[in-house]
């Protein structure tokens, strides 16, 4: 008998049946028999059985009662009920409470019973395989999360140190001391930092489970504007936020969405414009928040409009990463939000977003 032989426990108060079963199946399976539910339980305690067959009509405990009693203690073995008569009530009970895989009428037909045991054993293996796969996936998932966490620190920390040094160089008035070299280092560092941050945002968006908190747009929007206009003070922001009622949503993803759109509105201005403007309107309703972000920047070419939400799409004339709007779209998908865009090169671009209010 090899390791993959099914271990079958058969419980029946009629010794003749036990013998007949053994005689019929001992070549195919590793068979254990018991003449009562109590005896069957003793075997279960010592041997990890794959398939249990129990007779319904037994003096102390019926087959269904037995199956019901081991639902929580021995959930794994697959159960087959044998009945000599068609008792609908017992069957209903068996299906509803005993987690029965199959029921077979007595006297059994060897081929039918054999097939049932074979199928039951397959079902057992599938169940265990699935459980192992889930455990494996959970472990991988957990490792990936830890990897992301460590990337966010280990990869970024030295980069941020370098940015600190550039900052110090500026404070000491040495920034121009080596021609444009310092400014080139600064550009590279900022770009790398941007990629690391976007990558993290993307992974966090795909992993993290939505957590709903109360969001005050009147607080959130100005703080995001502050954050992203830090390097560019030329763009003028006008906000009109109408929020008289509470809004509940996924704070992390909403920050990611608005942050990316605000940062884009700043980044894709017309370079020599003296009147760089971004207008943010928000209307909070009981069912949703409607957000409009309009800029008078360089606009998006018609033929590009369809592609802007795809990963790594970027235009030649600007140093984007091709990740920002892709992440916006991914984050909106996670929270059932919608986005539409209108743009032309004369007036600029308008993004309109709706995010459901989940309270």
């Amino acid at each position: 008998m090899n390791a993959t032989t099914a271990r079958v426990l058969y419980i029946d108060d009629e010794e003749n049946n036990l013998h007949a079963f053994k005689a019929g199946f001992r070549r195919q399976y590793e068979i254990y028999t018991a003449n009562s539910a109590a005896e069957g339980l003793k075997i279960l305690e010592n041997i990890s059985v794959h398939v249990i067959i129990a007779d319904q009509k037994m003096p102390q405990t019926t087959g269904v009662e037995f199956f019901r009693s081991i639902v929580h203690t021995y959930p794994d073995p697959v159960r087959i009920l044998l009945t000599g008569y068609t008792d609908i009530e017992a069957l209903a009970d068996a299906i509803n409470h005993g987690d029965i895989y199959r029921y077979i009428t007595k006297p059994w037909n060897d081929l039918e019973l054999h097939n049932s045991i074979k199928n039951a054993y397959d079902a057992y293996k599938t169940k265990i395989d699935l459980r192992n796969k889930i455990a494996e996936l959970e472990k991988t998932n957990d490792e990936l999360n830890r990897f992301i966490y460590s990337i966010s620190h280990e990869l970024r920390a030295p980069l941020v140190s370098a940015m600190g040094i550039v900052n110090l160089v500026k404070m000491e008035g040495l920034f121009e001391s080596s021609g444009e070299y310092w400014s080139l280092i600064e550009t590279c560092s900022n770009k790398l930092d941007y990629y690391v941050q976007k990558t993290l945002q993307y992974y966090k968006n795909s992993k993290e489970i939505s957590a709903h908190t109360s969001i005050d747009f009147k607080e959130l929007v100005p703080s995001l504007i502050d954050l992203y206009s830090f390097t560019d003070k030329e763009t003028y922001f006008h906000t009109d936020i109408k929020q008289d009622i509470p809004f509940y949503g996924d704070a992390f993803r909403i920050e990611v969405i608005l942050g990316n759109l605000i940062s884009n509105a700043i980044k894709y201005q017309k370079e020599d414009s003296i009147n760089k403007k971004v207008d943010i309107e928000i209307q909070v309703r009981p069912t949703e928040a409607e957000i409009t972000i309009t800029d008078n920047g360089m606009g998006i070419l018609n033929e590009h409009l369809e592609k802007i939400f795809t990963q790594f799409f970027k235009i030649k004339t600007n140093q984007g990463s091709g990740l920002g709007l892709f992440i916006v779209k991914e984050a909106l998908n996670k929270i059932d939000g919608k986005i539409s865009v209108k743009s032309n090169s004369l007036e600029g671009t308008t993004f309109k977003i709706t995010i459901p209010n989940v309270k």
Binding site: H153, A157, S161, G164, I165, M171
Partner: protein
């Protein structure tokens, strides 16, 4: 403040950041004295050693989160139990490169921390923050 010698304690395991940040603070003239600690343990032992000399205690602590052995949060756990006279004199800001939402939330929830500053340390941000707590 009992005297005008304002003191800041920098706690960071990263020697480069420690050097750069102390230089930034030195150039800013915001503090007269800068104490550098390369670990949370070192920072805590500085505090306990000087706990009876109020003049020696810092007015401000800039604390990193990610450090080996004891991290910034462990530091704050111990700090919580320090006597009131230290906490009345001293405020703590976290200075970290973290982007982790959990870290940010945990920091915001800590009553002993006034703000999470992001690395690199930018002088304007530090000044804005300290304006609320000291006369600069």
């Amino acid at each position: 403040m009992s005297n005008n010698r304002r003191k800041v304690l920098l706690v960071d395991d990263n020697a480069i950041d420690l050097k750069v940040n102390s230089k930034v603070i030195h150039l800013s003239g915001l503090f007269e004295e800068i104490v550098l600690c390369q670990s949370a343990e070192e920072g805590l032992s500085y505090l306990s050693k000087n706990i009876d000399q109020i003049d020696e205690l810092p007015d401000f602590i800039l604390l990193d989160i990610q450090m080996p052995d004891m991290d910034g949060f462990d530091f704050l756990e111990v700090y919580k139990k320090f006597p009131k006279k230290l906490k009345e004199k001293c405020v703590i800001a976290i200075l970290s490169s973290t982007l982790d939402f959990g870290d940010i939330k945990k920091t915001e929830a800590n009553p002993d921390v006034i703000k999470l500053l992001k690395k690199p340390l930018i002088l304007n941000e530090l000044e804005e923050l300290l304006k609320k707590y000291f006369i600069i």
